[in-house]
Symmetry: C2
Subunit: 356 residues, 2 copies
């Protein structure tokens, strides 16, 4: 079996093909710790707060920074589809990037160590996850069969061993786990110290809670579905931006025959905002709405005629309006946002625009 092992074939670091997207409301001192790993990449920083504030970026980094005024200027009326005052705003970076891959990370995430005490090179692992196939159609009990020292186990059909194209790599978090507000309230002291040395494919037909804290994806393929919704300022919901994107992305990947991986690499998450009651207020509606949204996404069917991600996404927007619009008028507005997002994507990512 072919293997992609970092010791045998060095992982290509894709310096000219990957942008790092960071949403923030403050100075990016956290980049100092990431310097050896991020300095060779281009950063897209999205300022998630008062545009009059100045965000300081440590010297030596190659970056572009957008605040709300920039977003309004670039998108005009279409800026209405971009969340403000919520880390959801990061998806504006996906729109303006010209690269094939995106890695996005929160500014309260730091370099984690593996059990041997070595720094985890997150981007290397994400690239390895994205460049090796996924296995969404049958479960491999020894996890990623393309990892070094692993393979498909007995009983894995040979016709499925070429796998599927991987378009999303969902990394995890040591220290502060990504818990919802009620769980944070109930378990204020719980920390994640379990390093699970595995990468796995989320099977076809199974939804998962996609967290945007430590996430890489193939922008060229799945970017048009990476809309983080309408959250935060002026909206009745926050904190569900990445979840919304995850449900849409997974349904579309299943339709397109693409794979989504989760597991390694870990970052060290040291929560910036520990105001758990504030989080509860923000997530409150989402806690109820997810009970309706998840069954919707579990049963949604995309017609065969949808052969591109954009077509799938517009079809999904239509069904969101029809079915979830009955749950709350917010979903009608969100469905409109999905359509506007698709228009903005087409405007900024036509062949002319991407030739740059």
């Amino acid at each position: 079996m072919a293997q992609l092992s970092s010791s045998v074939n060095p992982v290509p670091m894709l310096k000219d093909e990957l942008d790092i997207v960071i949403p923030t409301i403050r100075n990016l001192d956290f980049l100092e710790m990431w310097r050896p790993f991020f300095e060779q990449y281009h950063l897209i920083i999205i300022q998630d707060g008062d545009p009059l504030q100045t965000i300081k970026v440590p010297k030596g980094f190659d970056y572009e920074l957008y605040n709300r005024n920039d977003i309004n200027r670039i998108l005009g009326q279409k800026a209405s589809c971009i969340s403000s005052k919520d880390s959801a705003c990061r998806f504006f970076g996906y729109l303006v990037s010209k690269k094939k891959y995106i890695y996005t990370i929160d500014d309260d995430c730091f370099v984690a160590n593996d059990p041997s005490g070595n720094d985890i090179i997150v981007i290397e692992q994400h690239i390895m996850n994205l460049l090796t196939p996924s296995t969404p159609h049958f479960f491999n009990t020894l996890y990623d069969p393309y990892a070094s020292g692993a393979d498909f186990v007995r009983g894995y059909p040979f016709s499925m061993r070429e796998g599927a194209l991987t378009v999303v790599s969902h990394g995890l978090w040591l220290n502060m786990p990504d818990y919802d507000a009620p769980t944070q309230l109930v378990k204020p002291l719980e920390r994640n110290s379990r390093y699970v040395d595995a990468v796995m494919t989320i099977p076809k037909g199974t939804l998962f809670p996609m967290c945007g804290m430590n996430l890489a994806f193939d922008r060229e393929l799945i970017g048009p579905a990476m809309y983080f919704g309408l959250m935060g300022h002026g909206q009745p919901i926050g904190g569900y931006d990445d979840m919304w994107a995850g449900w849409c992305v997974k349904v579309i990947c299943d339709h397109m025959g693409w794979g989504v991986k989760t597991g390694l690499p870990y970052v060290w998450h040291s929560k910036a905002s520990c105001n758990r009651l504030e989080n509860l207020e923000k997530e409150y509606n989402g806690i109820f709405w997810q009970e309706e949204a998840i069954p919707f996404f579990q049963s949604v069917a995309l017609p065969n005629e949808c052969t591109s991600v954009q077509q799938c996404y517009l079809e999904l927007a239509k069904q969101v309006k029809e079915k979830l619009g009955k749950v709350d008028p917010y979903f009608i507005k969100l469905a409109d946002g999905m359509v506007t997002w698709t228009e903005a994507w087409e405007e900024l990512n036509t062949p002319m625009a991407t030739q740059n």
Copy 2:
């Protein structure tokens, strides 16, 4: 969230509710290493070869031993459904056990160590897996939410947090991975040294390759579907016994709303038979047939009227005969074996029989 943690609540070891089933062709010296962990349990040993040979069991173990003559005597004509000269014969032990739980292990599996060098207490972990719920309806990115120090992550629907009843716990193997014959031929030296510290639920709708080497299950609930098929002596196929059971079990668990877990605990697998060409001969037909059988199991639908495992199993046998019978007449014989197995199960496991 409620937790079952071995440090907080000691795992009940279920001494009177669990039998250990071991198929073997030789003296059971391997039990010496397992003495501290197995001695308190009742063993059911199934002799998988010449019934005239004597199998030596180390002193101090509480066991019953069945050879082919015993099987013929107990089951009469129905003995035709029990494989002979193949480790598949182990499933006779599931039939004659009177306990709620079964743990089955191969005689070339030894006690493994965790990364801290401690002996892994396999039965304790299997019991913990079986006594805590599964999460087949939505993926939890931090793996088993019922494990100590873990929980459901943000975005996991609250209505699904009670989970589902767990009926199968599939443990893994360090050292010799469970590879098929072609992979063994290609990678004779590959060993599994990756200790993945996780237990996870195989999602609903996803099939997996179930290995019988280190497996625990709730005999009372799923036992009637744990038929390891017709393999070995006199059959055109071997080595697919546990795979066959796994496909049937998973489809039925999905229908019944029950969960199947995989991951911890590990055993140290030191392959008894290393004749890889012989394995290829044995598995040869299976390699082709699994390409037909898996799509069959992926699309099989059990009607709502099937409300017991036996009903599901007989329905499955009917569909196997109809659909896979076209692939090879072997499947017609196998479907008949499935029906005979169900009859034997009912004969030996009527309320009268189990009262014992």
